[in-house]
Each structure stands twice: as structure tokens, then as C-alpha cells.
Symmetry: C2
Subunit: 374 residues, 2 copies
């Protein structure tokens, strides 16, 4: 067997989530609780009733590639040739890793707390990691100086999950411009920025950066999973300069051939219906207001929610977050994700998703706060 | 960039296929021309209208895993835990390669002529290849003795595409038993057999082997792409001993998370409708009869069609197959796949798919035969 695969253990998130009962208050889930808009699903069904389900070109249906490229219209990346349609943003990220890094020399810089999947993918591919940690005293906001200081000759790319899973913090446009300027000044081969913008339609601040707008060596990964409540559709993409997309298409072609024809037709309906990609934005913005009030009322320290559908709350300093999450699910029937799953600097924090009904979220917060006082 | 990705060039198949015109007789395509059964698509649409599109467990919906396991009921592989649902058989094969091989020491034995994708995947993963070539004088039938003779201490697995793309030859049960006996006698870690049985529902001989029935260290890859005309649905699976499936699930989880919920519902409809997996068998068997007559009438030497929807015909010995395929598409408007795309021992042969209307296939054969006499 491949030792790199064998080494991967069951994730902490899954270990905790496995304890969920039907009665549990689920603040763990990483997917929307909204339903997808039936009209897009009907458009997909109509397409396949007419055309059957045939292979698409590896890179995706040309009309969908073009619709995605035009929608985002990132500088120098506004053409179909700049898009590769993938099996969700997970496969987009895997194809990006596969195509971009020469594991013999290239390393990836990630910012902790981090979505743990990036670390696992890098290990599967044998790609060295450089880790920069955001700080509690900054409310885990991005720290451009720390990123720039950590760059080495081996750094091939910086992975920017903004808004960040788990913290919900977003890089601002000003921070982005600072980082882009520092990167532009470096001699030698360019350092790429991989912007995972999966929570792009759940951004609640005015000045979050679209890195692709300000830096030419940007590779974007995204999907309609979170924006349109279509996690199970498995339809994502990467947008990048054409010379990179050409390589990513090859990795993608051998991993999965192409994305599902039905899913591509659903996505085409979304990208050709005005504002459909943002159709759930108002719901999230409104829900967030209630969440912020509930957090205030709870007495718990919480991070600002720049974006995403997560809230992070701090337990008493020194608390073992895995232990706390286990007690919460086993004794108090509240599923939360322990901060330690995202990096050692997020120990004593919990990640809570707020897609469940607001009264359930409030009740979950009460039980978390009560845990503190026991 | 990753040099292993950069090295991969555009395939010969695509180079030739890119010349196709609307008027072309297409004997190149590797997918059914039949339409999928609407009832299964409706079942998928009904499922997602009710349940939305949520993540499934990485390994697939439990009910689908169980339905697949029970349908094939391979010895010691008849439970849900023996199945990982994947994004088509392409991702199944990639996850198998990723999980099974330690590229530092393990090699894969393949039989040429071979589906070129296997070679590309092995190169992407840095897995060493051992190549056994079937012989023209055997009509490119499997040669168990040659396979056994080629095994070394580094051989971790044998990849068996049976029925074979491109040759259409299948390994017989008797040959399978010989190979299994030889493998069982070897000391040390077992050598695995990866059986790509993608053309399982297009088998036309009585004694083709299901390797998983006769050898415990078998890993199966398959999908509903060819059996049910659902190439664009991207729904496949691997079936194997549980200790291997556990590793394959991890590779699959990081490559794509899970297969599409719609596709899984369509597959569940197929596996719970009696004989639905074989619903197109009769059509292929009947079409093959016409194809065999047409091949006889053409005067061209053709290989027996044990299975698949391909016919292979020989050009004059010494003919450059890529050159011939280019002349055929450019001058005679017939799209064929040059044998050289599948290995050097298939030079001077052409692979023809026979899913196009029979009169078109016949006309294509006429033009190929005419090429010979010019």
C-alpha cells in the first residue's frame, strides 16, 4: 500500500461528528441547510432528457467555461480558456496541487488555523508545507507581514482561504494589495496565490479581497456547493492564467475525465440566470445578524464573522478543545468542531456552523456557555 | 509546475478526433450511442427534489454500496464495506493506483495493447511499469504464461482490462484460473489483480473470467457508463477486500470528497431494478452480429470480438497507423483510432467503435478497405 495514504488517519471532525444523535443540535456541519432552487435542477433534468449524458470535454462544456469566466471576469482570466470545470472545489484543489507543485523542490505556504484537507492533500502528494499562524490577539485576522516573512526560495504558492474556514476572517483588499506588492518585488519565478473563495457569496464586509483582481499569478478554486446549497452536486472549477489551466486540465482529465453533464447543465442555469449565484446571500446576511446578537448575549468571546457560515467561540484558555467537543456531544447533545482540528493555535476554540435554525444555535450556545461554568 | 504533469502530451486519440467534421463517419468514439433509460434519470430527479443535494459519506450512500456489493456478490466482497463509489471508473482507477502502490518500490504490470490512460496515470504517480505484449499470431489474446514470466519482486499488481480496450479480447475462465494458481504459488506479499471490467455488460462469449470470483486479491473497477449509456453521469465504483477499500476511500475522499448525489440516486435505481444493469446487452449482441458480417464482407483481417463495442482491423503490415488514421479522417472522412495509440505492437491496426448506425460502420469499412488498395 501507499504509505502516504495509510498514514492518513480518520479526521478529528469525523470522530466527533460520528457521535451525533437524531436529537443533537448540529453546529458541526459544513454545508448549507437551505434547499437548492428547483428551477436549476429542472434545467439540468431537461438538458439530460434531451441530450442524454455524454462525456463533456475534459475541461468542461465550452458554454459553461465561458459563462463562469465572464461572470467573474478576473483580469487576464476572462475567457473560457481560463476555466477548468471540476468535480467540486475539492477536485479543483487536488488538480491545482497536482499540476502546480514539483514535490522535489516546491513548498506550499498555508495559514493556520486551516481547513485540514489542504494539509492532507499536500501530504498525499509529498508537497512540503510552510505554516504561518494567525494570532489570538489579532482575532486570527490575516497577517501579511508574517506571510511575507515566511517566504523562501522553495515557496511555490500561498494558499489563501478567504473567508477562512474555520475562522470566518477575510483578507481585506488593503492587505491583499500589500501582499501582492511584496510578491511582485521578489526576483525569480513568481509565487502563486491559490485563492479558495468557496465562501465568496457569504461575505459580509465591504472590502474582502478577490485576489485574482489584484495579482496576475492567482489561481482561484470555487464551486456552487456553498453558494447555492449544492454540496452533493460536485460541481466546481478553477480559474487561472491559461498556461496553468492547460496543466490543471491534464491532472483533472486523469483523475476524473470530466464533471457530470447533469451538474454542468445545472451550473449553466445558475450562471445564465441573473444573480442566481447570489440567490442565498440575503438569507445568510440576515441570519448572521441574529447570530451576532446571540453571540453577544452568550457572554462567550467570539471572532468577527467577515464571511462563511461559521462562528468561532473561545472556551476558557487552556481548555482541551477535543475533550470539550466530546463532552458537548456526549453529555449536552451539541455537535461542535474542536479548534485543534484546524491547527495547534486554535486550541481552546470551537467552530460552530450557524445554518441550523437560530433557536437551535442559541440553545447550543447556552449549553457551551454552561460547560464553561461547570 | 509538476514535471510529471507537464510531460503528458495531448493523446494521439484526441489529435485524430480533433479532425472530425459534422459529416464524418465516427468510428472513433468510446461511448455508447444509445440513450439512457429515462426512468432511472427520473428516479434521480425525484430523489434530489425530495432530499436536495447533500454530501454523501465519502465512500458513497450506504444503500448504493450495499446494492452494488449484493449485485456482484463476489466472494468475500459481498458487503457494503467492500465498495467505494467513485466519480466514474476513471477516478476509481486513480484512487486504486494512489492507494495501492508505494511508488518507491512497487511496479504495475500492464498488457499491451492497452488503454493509454493507465500508462498516463502510472506516470503521473511515478509508478514503474512492467509491460507484457500480446501477439499478433495469437490474435492479441491474453497470454498467461507471458504474464507470469514477467512478474518480479517489485510487481505489486497486474492490470487486467478484460474485455480489453482496444482489442476486444477477453481473458477466459480457464486462463484466469491458470493465472490465479500461479499467483497463489508465489511467496511473499500477494500480487493484486486489478480487473477493469468496464465492458462487463458487452461480453459475447460464455467463458469470460470475473477475476474477483476466482482470486481473493482482486480489485474491481467498473461503472454504469458503458452498460447504461451514462458516460457523462460520472458514476463508478471499486469493489475489493475491505482492508484495501479502507485505503482507497481515503484517496478518493481527498480527490473528490464523494460522488454526485443525483448520480448515486440514478445508480441506485439501476441496481434495484431487475436486470437494468444489462438492459442494453441484447442491443449490443444483435449489433455485433451485423458487425461480424460486415467485417467478413470487407476482406479486412479483424480480431474476434469477445467483448466491448470495438472492432480492430489490420492494415497492410508495415502501415503507419497514425498516418493511415490521419489520411482516413482528412481525405475519406472516417474517424478511426490508430493502433499505435495503444502500444507499439498494435501498429498497423485500427480500432473502430461500432456504436454508430450499421450502414455507417459498413461504409467506413469500405473506405478503410479502399485505402489499402490505393
Amino acid at each position: 500500500m501507499n504509505p502516504r495514504v495509510e498514514e492518513i488517519s480518520v479526521s478529528l471532525i469525523r470522530q466527533v461528528a460520528a457521535k451525533k444523535r437524531p436529537t443533537s443540535i448540529d453546529l458541526g456541519m459544513g454545508e448549507p441547510s437551505l434547499r437548492p432552487t428547483q428551477r436549476h435542477l429542472d434545467a439540468g433534468a431537461a438538458y439530460i432528457a434531451q441530450h442524454g449524458l455524454r462525456y463533456s470535454p475534459n475541461a468542461g462544456e465550452p458554454r459553461l467555461r465561458e459563462a463562469i469566466a465572464r461572470h467573474y471576469n478576473y483580469p487576464q482570466m476572462g475567457e473560457a480558456a481560463n476555466v477548468c470545470v471540476t468535480v467540486g472545489s475539492q477536485e479543483a484543489m487536488y488538480a491545482i496541487f497536482k499540476a502546480l507543485f514539483d514535490p522535489a523542490r516546491d513548498e506550499l505556504l498555508i495559514v493556520e488555523p486551516t481547513f485540514p484537507s489542504y494539509v492532507k492533500m499536500a501530504r498525499l502528494e509529498g508537497i512540503g508545507l510552510q505554516i504561518v499562524r494567525t494570532r489570538d490577539e489579532d482575532d486570527f485576522g490575516f497577517d501579511v507581514e508574517a506571510i511575507v516573512d515566511a517566504l523562501t526560495d522553495r515557496t511555490r504558492a500561498i494558499l489563501l482561504c478567504s473567508p477562512c474556514n474555520p475562522t470566518g476572517r477575510a483578507m481585506t483588499r488593503e492587505q491583499g494589495l500589500q501582499l501582492a506588492a511584496a510578491l511582485a518585488q521578489r526576483p525569480g519565478e513568481p509565487i502563486w496565490v491559490i485563492h479558495d473563495e468557496i465562501y465568496r457569496e457569504q461575505v459580509f464586509i465591504d472590502d474582502a479581497v478577490d485576489f485574482a483582481r489584484i495579482y496576475p499569478h492567482t489561481i482561484v478554486a470555487n464551486s456552487i456547493s456553498k453558494s447555492n446549497a449544492l454540496t452533493g452536486l460536485r460541481l466546481g472549477w478553477t480559474i487561472a492564467p491559461e498556461r496553468f489551466i492547460e496543466q490543471a486540465i491534464k491532472a483533472h482529465a486523469y483523475m476524473t475525465s470530466c464533471a457530470d453533464a447533469f451538474a454542468q447543465a445545472v451550473a449553466y442555469s445558475i450562471f445564465t440566470t441573473p444573480d442566481a449565484i447570489a440567490e442565498h446571500r440575503a438569507w445568510y446576511a440576515q441570519r448572521r445578524s441574529g447570530v451576532l446578537q446571540a453571540l453577544d448575549a452568550s457572554g462567550l468571546r467570539a471572532l468577527p464573522i467577515d464571511g462563511s457560515f461559521y462562528a468561532c467561540v473561545q472556551l476558557a484558555p487552556g481548555t482541551d478543545s477535543l475533550d470539550a467537543a466530546m463532552r458537548l456531544i456526549e453529555r449536552d447533545d451539541v455537535l461542535t468542531i474542536p479548534g485543534i482540528a484546524f491547527g495547534p493555535n486554535f486550541e481552546s476554540w470551537l467552530r460552530l456552523s450557524w445554518v441550523a435554525p437560530l433557536d437551535r444555535f442559541q440553545e447550543g450556545l447556552h449549553r457551551i456557555a454552561a460547560l464553561q461554568s461547570r
